[in-house]
Symmetry: C2
Subunit: 216 residues, 2 copies
DNA sequence: GTATGTGAAACGCTTCACAGCA
DNA sequence: TGCTGTGAAGCGTTTCACATAC
C-alpha cells in the first residue's frame, strides 16, 4: 500500500487533480468519477485511474472517488503543509504582481519574505511584507525555514542570485528568468517563461493552418 | 528536406533553442556545437541533434551549427513574425505586470491591445495602451488581426472570457487561470499556474528527502 | 448496471553507438 | 580528429480492454 515511486508524468498531473477536487468540494460534490475528474483537469479517465492507483486504491467501484479524502491524500503525497513558507526574490513588476496575485495562497503556500537587490526598493512594503536586502537572504531563510524560492529577477542577475539561494540552503526554485539556470543536482528548478509559451502556441497555430485537421 | 512533422517533445524545445541561440549571437558566437547548445538550453546533445535534424540538416560535421542562420530557421519554423500582435485580456495586477515585463518583446511579440471588463480600469493607460472594454473585443481583434490572446482574468470569469475570445476568432490562448478551459478542438490552450508549479516542486523536494540520491 | 483497478499492447521519446563527412 | 546525422535499442507513458467489486 502507498506510493512506492510515482512516475514523473503522473506527478506532474497531481496538482491539477488536487485543484479540480478542491473546486468540486467547494461546489458540494461528494464523489467524482474518473471521467468527471478527467474533464475537470483536462486529461483522460484512463490516466486518472492509473495515476490514482499509484497512491493506493481510494476509489469505490461503481461509485467513484471521495472528493475530500482524495484531496487530503493528494496534499499529503505532494508534501503540502498549509502555509508552507516561500521566499520571493525580486520585487519588480512581476514579483509584486505574483505577491498580490493569490497564487501562493491558493496553492497552500505563504510568502514568508520578499527580497530585492535594489536599494530603492528595499524597505518598501509589498503585499504586507517589508522588502529586505539581498544580503539578508541567509538570515531570512534561516529565520523562516523556507527551502522554496520564486525567482523574478532580471536575466542578467538570475544565475548569480540562484547561486546565492543554493548556497543559503534553497532546494527548489521556480524561475521566471528566460535563461537556463545551472544548479547542483540536488536542487530542482522549474522555469516559467512567457516568451517560450507564446512561441510554442505560435508554432501550433501555424501547424494547424498548414494542416487544418483536428488539434489535440 | 524541410520539416515533415515535428514531434511534440521537439516542438516544446524549439523556443528554448531559439532563445539560447539569440543569446549566443549577442555574445558574438558564430557556431555552436550540439553540446554547447544543449548546455545553454538545459537538455542533452543527442536531443539537440535529433531535434534539429527534423528541420533538415543545418549543421556542419566537425564544426557545429551556424548561430544566426539556425536562429532564423527556428523563427521561421515557429511561425514567428517580428511584432506579431497579441491581445492581453485582464488588466489586473498580473496583466499589468506582464505588459510591463518585457516577455512579449523578448519573444518577438507586440501587445496589440489591453482589455478589461472592469469599468474602473477601462480608459486607463497601461504600458502605453488605453485599456478597452470587453465589449470591444471583436472589434479589437478584427482591427489588430490578433489570433493569440493572453488571459489573466479571475478564475470565476475565465471560461466565459475564453468563450468570447474563441467566438471572436482567437485560436491560441495562454491562460493564467487555475482551472481547465473547455474550448473547441481547433483552439490551443496553454496554462501557466503558479500554484501548480509550486506544488510540483514541493513534491520533488519531499521525494528527494525520502530518497537522498541524485536528482535530475 | 456502473465505475474502478490493472495487465498487456501500442506508442512516442530518449539514449546509445557509430557511420559519414568536413 | 571532431562533430553531425541517424538507425536501432531501451525506456516510460498512454491507451486499450476487461476482470473485479460495489
Amino acid at each position: 500500500m502507498g506510493e512506492a515511486s510515482i512516475p514523473d508524468a503522473t506527478a506532474a498531473r497531481l496538482p491539477r487533480y488536487l485543484q479540480a477536487l478542491r473546486r468540486a468540494a467547494q461546489a458540494g460534490a461528494i464523489t467524482l468519477s474518473s471521467e468527471q475528474l478527467a474533464r475537470a483537469s483536462g486529461t483522460t479517465s484512463a490516466k486518472v485511474r492509473k495515476d490514482l492507483s499509484c497512491l493506493g486504491s481510494h476509489g469505490t467501484r461503481g461509485v467513484g472517488y471521495p472528493v475530500t479524502a482524495l484531496a487530503d491524500e493528494l496534499a499529503r503525497v505532494l508534501g503540502l503543509i498549509e502555509g508552507r513558507p516561500v521566499v520571493l526574490v525580486g520585487a519588480g513588476n512581476l514579483g509584486r504582481a505574483l505577491a498580490a496575485y493569490g497564487g501562493f495562497e491558493r496553492g497552500g503556500f505563504r510568502v514568508a519574505a520578499v527580497i530585492d537587490a535594489d536599494a530603492q526598493i528595499v524597505g518598501r512594503t509589498i503585499a504586507g511584507h517589508r522588502v529586505r536586502a539581498a544580503e539578508d537572504l541567509p538570515a531570512v531563510l534561516m529565520g523562516t525555514g523556507a527551502t522554496l524560492a520564486v525567482l523574478t529577477v532580471p536575466d542578467a542577475s538570475a544565475q548569480a542570485v540562484a547561486d546565492t539561494l543554493v548556497a543559503a540552503g534553497v532546494t527548489a526554485i521556480l524561475s521566471f528568468a528566460s535563461l537556463y539556470l545551472d544548479v547542483p543536482e540536488h536542487v530542482r528548478v522549474r522555469r516559467v517563461d512567457l516568451a517560450t509559451e507564446l512561441q510554442l502556441l505560435s508554432f501550433y497555430e501555424q501547424a494547424d493552418e498548414d494542416l487544418p485537421a483536428a488539434a489535440g
